[in-house]
């Protein structure tokens, strides 16, 4: 059996170094443009989590252990959820999830189709993207870290 901390060799590592930023940028694009193009927080977050998986596979578990702090990711996930909840609560003076920013807000009230429009939707997409990315990476990392029972 292959030792636990092995990485994937030079070729894969170099390719991963080149592609991880690109995947990250593409995911960020999908998140930011979530309210005007197909896509959104979940899709973009899952794309960025793909970069996390690539990192984990290419560089091995020991390298990932140094870079990924589980508690930090857990806190980030909680913060993503809290931001989503707060965005929903902004319009609580009218009703829950009322899009107060779009109707009479200071920001994100532009014409439909521009980037700074759609009220709370960009904020929610960012929050969901953060939550999905951290959640998926934490889940995959937890499964990868799982105790090896054959020893």
């Amino acid at each position: 059996m292959r030792p636990q901390n092995s990485d994937m060799g030079l070729i894969v590592k170099t390719m991963a170094r080149a592609t991880i930023p690109l995947i990250g940028i593409f995911g960020a694009y999908v998140i930011v443009h979530g309210h005007i193009t197909p896509g959104g927080g979940f899709q973009g977050g899952a794309t960025i989590a793909g970069a996390g998986v690539l990192f984990l596979v290419a560089f091995g578990l020991s390298e990932a252990k140094e870079k990924i702090n589980k508690n930090f990711y857990s806190v980030l996930e909680g913060i993503g959820g809290l931001v989503f909840l707060t965005a929903g609560m902004l319009g609580l003076g009218v009703v829950f999830f009322y899009n107060v920013l779009w109707h009479k807000g200071p920001v994100f009230n532009g014409e439909a189709g521009t980037l700074l429009s759609a009220g709370y939707l960009p904020i929610m997409n960012l929050a969901v993207g953060l939550k999905v990315y951290t959640g998926l990476v934490s889940a995959l990392f937890a499964i990868a870290l799982f105790r090896r029972w054959k020893k």
């Binding site: 005007i36 193009t37 197909p38 959104g40 979940f42 899952a46 439909a112 189709g113 998926l136 889940a139 937890a142 499964i143 799982f146 105790r147 029972w149």
Partner: protein, 120 residues
Amino acid sequence: MIAFQFVTAFLMIFMGLYAFLYKRNLIKLILALNLVDAGIHLLLISLGYRLENGLLPTAPIYTGYETLKGTPMVGPIPQALVLTSIVIGVCVLSLAMALTVNAYQQYETLDVSKLRRLRG
């Protein structure tokens, strides 16, 4: 006439049910659950796709250019429903995978019929 996508959707659902009832490997059971879910998603998505006056519908999402005048739109609600359902499916999938890893550690097998110590 029943559109072929409905036939495909129900075929997928029944294939998933068959696999769920007759397969014993835990991983295959997870795949069976996903197959059932995928069939239902296909059913929901195809419900939003309807021809009006013989014209093909376009996606409702604003992409910067106008949709053709008189062209029908696909229903946006089924897409939102399917997206929600996919997210739920991912949650179930990851939890099932984690449980499978744990079950393999405890029982050293993936055969679901061997998981019956609880008969008491």
